[in-house]
Each structure stands twice: as structure tokens, then as C-alpha cells.
Symmetry: C2
Subunit: 186 residues, 2 copies
DNA sequence: TTGTCATGCGACACATATGTCTCATATGAG
DNA sequence: CTCATATGAGACATATGTGTCGCATGACAA
């Protein structure tokens, strides 16, 4: 009797799904099972439906982002620094998690809850960064959070397009957030 | 003989498609035909396939954005002002065109060409705005363009979420771009 | 060896969307 | 009135993905 029911197979499916779906968000379960080197029936033994698989991937993506963010936070010297470091670790995850942006996850209550929780953590860090003087108190936290998310996305796209390196993307996104694109006068 | 082959029917389908797909990007052709008040066969008489319809919508969206942008440009006093005004007219179009972001259009050469053309126009305006002193010459134009697009998207989402009004979204996105979120010192 | 378990394979049923076709109808032009 | 055109309704074939099931196989533990 195997201690845990062969995690490797399930993991192989998950990895193949992340890999395939990032390149073709319309890939079928057959494609995914094939890429994972398992039968389609085996995939169904681990994931009841396509939605189940997608949801698992989305939850995993949340966890992975949380872990990366937590690791970045531990090394940080301030909340502002933490936000900057998070940018650096989250941008590369776009290759892996980006396809989830085109999935209809807003209907799943669990996903909505998980997303809100993560969003709240970001908001708290932004509030803290405001107190550190990094952000203007007069700017709504919700807008800073939106900008943070979308500039993170912009950074990933820029790297993907080969316009900048990852490090440059982080610097540019962070500069845009904190200092702005305009000349630094006045 | 009708002068032009009953544009109203085709337009009704297009309008219904914009409306339905923005709320449910997975709506079927039957749903769309139904919403348009026409038979599914009639839809096929105007659009050979689903891809054909989507592509038509995407092309129309491009035109609509172009027209709105051009109108905004005519009233503008400078390239910088034009970019700001474009923000104001493009953010509301998100409700209508947003669903196209989840469609796989990157495979269609026509769409890629149209997108590149539009992107180039934006780039040229940004270059001009650089000369006006609005943007730092040291920042890559590609990054400014990316930020512009994504902050535009962020503005739309903020409005959609009810966090800000359209006018506020424009102001915030523009401030983020030109001045930055940080306090305006140094 | 024996038994269990995960798996691969293939068959099957099912659902849905899609594209095509035919026929009857209504509208409007001539 | 007559004809052409656009349309609605519905049938039809097809493709594709999806989910389930049964059975044989191979690995591994007892």
C-alpha cells in the first residue's frame, strides 16, 4: 500500500495542464492527459470535470503566489520594500498563471473568496506603505491596488514581448507606481 | 430592390453580439441570434462562422476606438492632452469591447496587423508627448504604451467595480501615468 | 503466489455547438 | 399582380468535448 495515492501522477497532470493551457487555453482534457503521459480516464479519476481541474489549478496558483509573496515579504525591510519584492517574484509567475485570466472563475464562490482574501492582503500592505510615505494618502487604496495588479500584468507582457528584461520590468512598474513616468521635478 | 442589403438585420446581430458577449463570453450563436430577434440561419447568412462574427466584432471595435480617439484628438490642444482625452473616451468603451480580451485573436493576421497599426499610433503620440515634456525620455516608449493600455484597463475595472466614477478613473489613470502615485516631491 | 491498487485502453453514451439545407412566408419593388 | 429578396422555422449531418464504464495489465506489498 502506497502511503499517499501516487501524488506524482496527479502532479504530472497538473504540471502538464499549467504548461499546455498557458500556451493554448483551449486545450482539451485529452490533450492535457496526453501531455501528462496518462490516459484520459486517469485524468478523470483525479479530476471529476474540466471545471474541477481548472479550479484546482486556480487554487494552486493562488497558493503559489501567496508563497512567493510571503517569501518576498520575509526578506523585506519595509512594507514598501515588500510590495516591490512581490512585484519581482510575481511577474515571472505570469507565464505559468496567465491563462487563468481568460477563465470564467468569477462564478465560483470559493475562487471569489480566495481572490478577495488575497486582494485584502494587498490592500493592507498598501495602507501600510501609505503610512511609510510611499503612496499618497489622498489616492484611494483601491486604485493603487488596481494599478499594482495591472502594472504587474503590464510588466509580464513587456517581458513576454521581449521589450524589457524581468529586472527592468520590475523597476519600470515600481517607478510607475511610486514616482510616475513624468520628469521628477516639482 | 433595397439599396443596401438591409443593414438593420446585420447591425441588430452585431449589437446583440456585443451586448451578450460582454456579459457572457461563452454565449452561443443561437443565443446571439435569439437576442437579436433573428433566426440562427439568418445569422449564418451574414456571418459564415463564429470566427467570422468575432473577427467582425473585433474589427468594428478597432474602428470604434479609432473614431473615438480621432474625435478626442481633434479637440486636443497637444499630444499629451490628446492622450488624456483618449483615456476618457476609451474607458467607457470597455463595457462594449472588453470581452474581446478573452478571445484568441492573436492567430488572425488581419487582427494582428490592425492591432500593430493602432499600437503604432499610440507610440507616435507618446513620442510626441515626450517632446512636450510629459514623459521622461529615458523611459522606453514601449513601457509607456504598455502602462497606458493597462491603466486604461485598470480604469475600466475600477469603474465596473463601482470604486470610482468614470471621471475619477480618468484622472487617476492619467495621474498615475504622468505624475505617479507617490508624493510629488523631488 | 496472491491480492490490491493505480493505471492504460478503448468503447459507449451524451451534450452542445456548429454549419448546411429546404421550404414556407412576408415584404417591397416593378 | 408578380417576382425577387430576406427571413423564420426546423430538420439534418457533423464535429468535438466530455463523462462513465469495463476489462486487462503491471507494480508492489503481504
Amino acid at each position: 500500500m502506497t502511503i499517499s495515492p501516487r501524488l506524482s501522477t496527479k502532479d504530472a497532470i497538473i504540471e502538464a495542464a499549467f504548461d499546455l493551457l498557458s500556451r493554448d487555453s483551449g486545450a482539451s482534457l485529452g490533450d492535457i492527459a496526453n501531455a501528462a503521459g496518462v490516459g484520459r480516464a486517469t485524468l478523470h479519476r483525479h479530476f471529476a470535470s474540466r471545471d474541477d481541474l481548472i479550479k484546482t489549478l486556480a487554487m494552486l496558483a493562488m497558493e503559489e503566489m501567496d508563497q512567493a509573496a510571503d517569501a518576498a515579504c520575509e526578506e523585506a525591510s519595509s512594507y514598501s520594500d515588500a510590495l516591490r519584492r512581490m512585484l519581482a517574484v510575481l511577474i515571472p509567475l505570469g507565464d505559468r498563471h496567465g491563462f487563468l485570466a481568460t477563465e470564467p472563475l468569477e462564478n465560483d464562490p470559493d475562487m471569489v473568496a480566495a481572490y478577495k482574501r488575497q486582494m485584502n492582503e494587498t490592500r493592507e500592505m498598501i495602507e501600510a506603505a501609505k503610512k511609510e510615505g510611499t503612496f499618497d494618502r489622498a489616492v484611494p487604496t483601491s486604485w493603487i491596488a488596481q494599478s499594482y495588479d495591472h502594472l504587474l500584468y503590464a510588466g509580464w507582457e513587456s517581458v513576454k514581448a521581449g521589450e524589457v528584461t524581468k529586472a527592468q520590468a520590475v523597476d519600470l512598474a515600481w517607478r510607475t507606481l511610486t514616482k510616475g513616468l513624468g520628469e521628477a521635478n516639482q
